[in-house]
């Protein structure tokens, strides 16, 4: 195989985003008080997340992942299956599996490039039949999250850079590769391949896709 299809995950193949995942963990925190406290804090933090995401995906990541500080690695892993059953699985768009199947049938390697946390998405990737992926990784010290991400932090230009490096290493032709993403923050990732596809795009990405004559796909 000399080409691949690179997918963003949140908003592209599934309808949830990082905040849904965090809210699930907050809801399922140990102890009722702790759970209520974290859930309330998540809700209170929504405007901050939205503003940060609108400004820069990097700033959003810096703020958002701090909220994981103190979470136990064991518990995050333990709850990952439930997270898939309750949140991520039902959020898979109806068009996702047919798209992956058609893409796989054309001989493209299937690769997920996401800003989500690696420990949270593994059951989902198994469900989608995807084995190759790159995701963000939380830093843990003594089994507890520090609230920081291990580099490289997958967002915006880093995704494009990773795709370039990966393609070079694997001998893939970038001009034959596909990329699917939903957000303007993923513009670099779309721009680096020969077949970019705006998928369930936000308004800004949609107008960019129209300007560049990129296909616009809806998986809802």
């Amino acid at each position: 195989m000399t080409a691949a299809a690179f997918y963003d995950l949140d908003g592209t193949l599934i309808s949830t985003n990082l905040v849904h995942v965090f809210a699930f963990y907050a809801r399922n925190d140990q102890g009722i008080l702790q759970s209520i406290k974290r859930s309330a804090a998540t809700i209170a933090g929504l405007p901050i997340f939205m503003a940060a995401d609108g400004y820069s995906r990097k700033v959003f990541n810096d703020i958002f992942f701090k909220w994981y500080k103190g979470q136990s690695e064991d518990r995050l892993r333990y709850l990952a299956e439930d997270l898939f059953e309750e949140v991520l699985g039902p959020a898979v768009y109806p068009g996702t599996l047919p798209l992956l199947e058609k893409s796989r049938n054309t001989g493209l390697r299937q690769v997920v490039v996401t800003g989500a946390l690696d420990i949270t998405i593994q059951p989902l990737l198994r469900h989608l039949g995807i084995t190759e992926y790159v995701a963000n990784r939380l830093e843990f010290v003594d089994g507890r999250a520090t609230g920081r991400l291990k580099p490289p932090v997958m967002a915006s230009a880093t995704k494009a850079s990773w795709i370039r490096t990966y393609s070079e290493k694997e001998g893939l032709s970038l001009s034959d590769c596909f990329a699917y993403a939903d957000s303007m923050s993923d513009l670099p990732m779309l721009s680096v391949v020969g077949h970019p596809t705006a998928t369930n795009p936000d308004l800004r990405l949609r107008s960019t896709a129209l300007r560049h004559d990129w296909p616009i796909v809806r998986l809802q």
Binding site: S103, T106, D213, I216, L219
Partner: protein, 532 residues
């Protein structure tokens, strides 16, 4: 022979004289009024045949007196599985006023099915690799009552890419593989309700094309088949038709198909625009006022508004015949009636053919006539409007009046954009394009997704559109885009460009000689010249 005397020879043919009125020529979403050179022959369509006074009665009579099989009621039994397939929005053009003939036929058929205890009924739009229709379009086509009763579970568009949605039926002696919609194949009875606007519609093409998948379609939608087809509107001379007939025989071996074919007249313009179909020499004062009012009002509108305005003007087509039964005897009758409306005797070929390209084609209802579709209309459909031999002499010049704007509908024609801007700059050779790129576009997962979940034409469709012009491209000496507003679109299509029609005619004359015979087809409505 003086121009006046020649004009009297045939009411459908006018020779331009020194006192002739300017001719109206479609120019995209506008019209031109052009003084043509003296001696130019202008060919007009026949007037509309009077519509049947009782369409519902005619349909009921046809299904009770079918050709080649038992009446429909005799084929029904309680509990049987029935699929009704209907033509998609590409027919008729423009969409007709409501009730659409499909609605009338469906109402008759559904009532009969209900009376016989048949309740496992699906209505499938036979859109093949065309775009899927939107819900409002589907509602308009069959009426609110049928739509509400069947949509979306039992009234939907054919999906040529649905996994497990296609069944392999077999192959012809020429190794043409036939693959058809599973629901239709597994039904005890398929009723196909067709609209025959031109002679290339209907017959075996209805099921073999309308309900097939990409692989099955490639046997006849390819450059060689199109080159070997001497006119799409003349079925005996069309290789495309021959292949459909062969593949249709495989369909008939495996499926019980009951065809209901309907023929419409050519009443394309309603009262406010009926002057567009008239001989300009015979315009009344009222016609001139209507023309001025139309030109004034559309002249003030931006192009998108004009486009929306014209796409919202349905045509008052009327049913002139309905036949039902087995494919071949039904289609034979249908073609006869079709030619009664469209065939027009013409004396001799021409050296220069002028055609105005309107805003609509079968592939851009409620959308944009993009450059590839202008090409489909020119060397594709308009060149192929003949029976017997082409109206345009071999090596002649085809002048197309259209702005050739570089505009595409990203939702409906996404793969066209890539085809036009990425492939055509590399080559215009249909065989090379097919060999190198058709598979890539046909299997592009994004385009497949847009076809399946959205309203996009299939990824391979722009290739078929390019092949569609193949026999025209091989036949003509030159194509000139008159009034093209840019240089690059005609250049990519391999055409000359002229600022005005007069410049295009001068260019054509310098190519064909000063004594070149010039003919203008006064389209639309459609006509099919039979050259004597």
């Amino acid at each position: 022979m003086s121009p006046v005397l020649r004009r009297k020879l045939d009411p459908g043919t006018v020779y331009i004289g020194t006192d002739s009125a300017p001719r109206l020529i479609h120019y995209g979403e506008d019209f031109w009024e052009e003084d043509l050179p003296v001696g130019t022959r202008v060919i007009y369509p026949k007037p509309p045949i009077q519509g049947l006074p009782n369409p519902r009665g005619a349909i009921r009579h046809a299904i009770n007196h079918p050709l080649g099989c038992d009446p429909l009621h005799a084929q029904l039994s309680p509990g049987m599985k029935v699929t009704i397939a209907v033509d998609d929005i590409s027919l008729p053009l423009p969409p007709m006023i409501t009730p659409d003939t499909r609605q009338t036929a469906l109402e008759v058929v559904l009532e009969l099915l209900e009376d016989h205890g048949v309740d496992d009924i699906h209505i499938v739009v036979a859109n093949s690799l065309h775009r899927k229709m939107t819900e409002p379009e589907m509602r308009r086509m069959v009426g609110a009552e049928i739509h509400d009763a069947f949509y979306p579970d039992r009234y939907y568009c054919h999906d040529a890419e649905e996994p497990d949605g296609i069944v392999y039926l077999g192959k012809t002696e020429q190794s043409e593989h036939v693959r058809i919609n599973r629901r239709a194949v597994e039904s005890d009875l398929v009723i196909y309700i067709n609209i025959n606007l031109v002679p290339m519609d209907g017959g075996h093409k209805s099921v073999t094309v309308g309900l097939c998948d990409y692989r099955s379609l490639t046997h006849h939608h390819d450059p060689q088949t199109i080159r070997d087809s001497h006119g799409y509107m003349d079925p005996p001379a069309s290789e495309l038709n021959h292949k459909c007939v062969r593949m249709g025989a495989i369909v008939d071996e495996h499926m019980n198909v009951f065809h209901i074919e309907t023929v419409l007249n050519n009443r394309m313009y309603h009262d406010q625009l009926d002057f567009l179909g008239k001989n300009e020499d015979d315009f009344s004062e009222l016609d001139r006022m209507k023309l001025r009012a139309t030109r004034w009002s559309t002249g003030k509108m931006p192009r998108a508004a004009k486009r929306a305005f014209f796409h919202n003007l349905p045509s008052p087509y009327e049913l002139i015949a309905c036949y039902a039964g087995k494919t071949d005897p039904v289609h034979e009758k249908t073609l006869e009636r079709c030619f009664d409306q469209y065939a027009i005797k013409v004396k001799g070929q021409c050296d220069i053919l002028i055609v105005g390209v309107p805003y609509i084609s079968p592939y851009n209802v409620n959308s944009i006539l993009n450059p590839l579709l202008v090409q489909v209309m020119g060397p594709g459909y308009f060149f192929n409007l003949f029976r017997g031999k082409p109206l345009l002499r071999k090596g002649g010049v085809l002048i197309l009046c259209h702005p050739c704007y570089d505009e595409f509908d990203a939702e409906i024609h996404p793969s066209y954009i890539e085809f036009f801007h990425r492939l055509l700059p590399e080559t215009r050779d249909a065989f090379t394009l097919r060999e190198k790129y058709e598979e890539e576009f046909a299997t592009n997962p994004s385009y497949i997704q847009m076809y399946r979940q959205g309203t996009a034409y299939h990824g391979a469709h722009p290739f078929f559109m390019w092949y569609w012009g193949e026999n025209g491209r091989q036949h003509v000496g030159k194509i000139i885009a008159a009034g093209a507003e840019n240089q690059h679109v005609p250049e990519l299509l391999g055409w000359d460009r002229a600022e005005t029609l007069a410049e295009a005619i001068a260019n054509a004359r310098s190519y064909m000689g000063r004594s070149a015979e010039i003919t203008m087809l006064h389209l639309p409505p459609i006509m099919i010249p039979e050259v004597e």
